[in-house]
């Protein structure tokens, strides 16, 4: 919105919401990167740091919760201001969940670091995580710039994450079939892969909210989905 509010402190409130979201988003993106990096390098110290840092995201979400309630009560925002406040509340919840998933990856990294590495799985997970990281970065840019095309693009890219997840699922099942001693590590890695895939879903949800923020409508078309892991069966032999 090119115009400024007649009440300037209202503008300050809205930009504060934007800046907390930007801070949370940057933190969440970094948490995912660090968690997967720690997994790949079996870096226990970094994993521990990810677990600790999650508290910061939780605190920022709490701040958004309190602040949005205050803005709703005191400013009674309308039209795109109303959408901005509601969307900030929803995006904060998505980012908080992303943080939780990253933290869970870090916890499993601590466990996995005590076991023998299995095949190439962590490299595949890192490829998938890079894709999701770039989606987080783009969706935050789209949010900051009110760029609906960029948000829609992020939304469409989740399909690639689903495909990677399905292929990782097959890969891990194969390792388990090859050697039952891999089962514990592979089960943890399945959860790690699932966590990253779920982060992609939250990013998609953020992209849909950015679309709503800008246009006042949720995206109408069905988004392509390609997570076939729920149907995947590997026959022995």
């Amino acid at each position: 919105m090119e115009h400024e509010h007649i009440v300037t402190s209202f503008d300050e409130d809205l930009s504060r919401l934007d800046s907390i979201i930007a801070q949370m988003g940057g933190l969440a993106e970094r948490q995912l990167a660090d968690a997967v990096d720690a997994l790949n390098r079996r870096d226990v110290t970094l994993a521990q740091k990810v677990i600790e840092t999650d508290k910061q995201i939780d605190l920022l979400e709490e701040e958004i919760d309190n602040f949005t309630i205050r803005v709703l009560a005191l400013r009674q925002p309308m039209a795109d201001d109303l959408r901005a406040v509601v969307v900030a509340l929803k995006i904060a919840a998505n980012l908080e969940r992303i943080g939780d998933y990253a933290k869970n990856v870090a916890k499993r990294t601590l466990t996995l670091s005590t076991m023998e590495p299995v095949g190439n799985a962590t490299a595949s997970i890192q490829r998938m995580a890079r894709q999701v990281q770039s989606m987080i970065k783009n969706v935050l840019d789209a949010y900051g710039a009110h760029d609906i095309a960029k948000a829609d693009d992020v939304r469409m890219r989740d399909e690639e994450v689903d495909l990677m997840h399905t292929s990782l699922f097959r890969e891990l099942l194969t390792y388990m079939l090859e050697d039952p001693r891999n089962i514990t590590a592979c089960t943890h890695l399945l959860f790690v892969a699932k966590n990253v895939e779920r982060i992609g879903d939250h990013v998609t949800s953020i992209a849909e909210n950015v679309h709503f923020l800008v246009s006042g409508e949720m995206p109408a078309d069905e988004r392509p989905k390609n997570d076939l892991s729920s149907e995947t069966v590997i026959e022995e032999g």
Binding site: M1, E4, H5, I6, F10, Q76, M78, A79, D81, R83
Partner: protein, 273 residues
């Protein structure tokens, strides 16, 4: 030629609305209003649906009150005021030659910003209109009209035992409900309200808003308000005026959550006043 085009569009809209069994009570087409040289309304086209509350919003001087006052020809008495275009009530031109303005104002009642009861008893305030229009044959019928009107205006329980007390002795909120009872007493079809709550405290305002919500079952209500929250709370349709133009109209929900025009957006979010 241009008028013919407007008519076509409006007929189509009317058919669309009838599909939802919501015929238009009042229709304004190409309305221009001038006060001397100054143009106060510019080519306003607006359909007002029956049995709904339509809120007219916009900054001071935008023409919303001028538009409201055209609907029951209150502008006739303003010197130098000139009106072009057409305003119809149930399809009949309210500015047509031979229209009885007194009768029109009985069909299209009005409640003003400041409660303005007559310096008479509560009873006589309500009985005044029915008496002029000869709506009651005897005292029993008049009692019936007065009590029913006070009841519909949500005031009866508070004044039942003092109907002969002066109307001006009531509280501001009660006075405004008395004025609503007075408007209802002549059995209008449309009630115009020009900022009916601006002189009232929040509790009295809430009572009037509740009353407006009940009244819409039987009347078509058109309300000018400066409070966007009030428009959002009580109306189903909202029309936004700016500098004499009708900028945007639509469902209240849409106007306050996703307005289309930049100017509406700027106004409802508090960026222009």
């Amino acid at each position: 030629m241009e008028l013919a085009i407007h008519t076509e569009v409006s007929d189509k809209a009317r058919v669309d609305m009838q599909g939802l069994s919501l015929p238009h009570k009042v229709t304004a087409q190409g309305v221009n209003v001038y006060y001397g040289d100054k143009q106060a309304l510019k080519n306003v086209n607006l359909d007002i649906p029956s049995n709904m509350v339509t809120a007219l919003i916009g900054p001071s001087g935008c023409g919303k009150s001028t538009f409201l006052r055209c609907l029951n020809r209150m502008n006739d008495v303003v010197d130098g005021c000139r009106i072009e275009g057409s305003i119809t009530l149930d399809g009949e031109d309210v500015y047509a030659r031979g229209v009885d303005v007194v009768h029109l104002r009985a069909r299209v009642g009005m409640v003003f910003q400041k409660p303005n009861p007559f310096p008479k008893s509560i009873y006589d305030n309500v009985a005044y209109g029915p008496r002029i229009h000869g709506l009651a044959k005897n005292r029993t019928e008049m009692d019936e009209i007065v009590l029913t009107s006070l009841e519909k205006a949500g005031l009866l329980d508070e004044v039942r035992d003092r109907l002969e007390a002066p109307g001006t002795g009531l509280s501001g909120g009660q006075q405004q409900r008395l004025c609503i009872a007075r408007a209802i007493a002549v059995e209008p079809e449309v009630i115009l309200m020009d900022e009916p709550c601006s002189a009232l405290d929040p509790i009295a305002t809430a009572k009037i808003e509740e009353l407006i919500d009940e009244l819409k079952q039987n009347y078509t209500i058109i309300m000018v308000t400066h409070s966007m929250q009030q428009a959002a709370r009580v109306s189903q349709k909202t029309a936004f005026f700016h500098l004499g133009e009708l900028v945007e109209q639509g469902d209240t929900t849409d106007i306050f959550t996703k307005p289309v025009d930049e100017r509406t957006q700027a106004y409802v979010t508090g960026r222009i006043g």
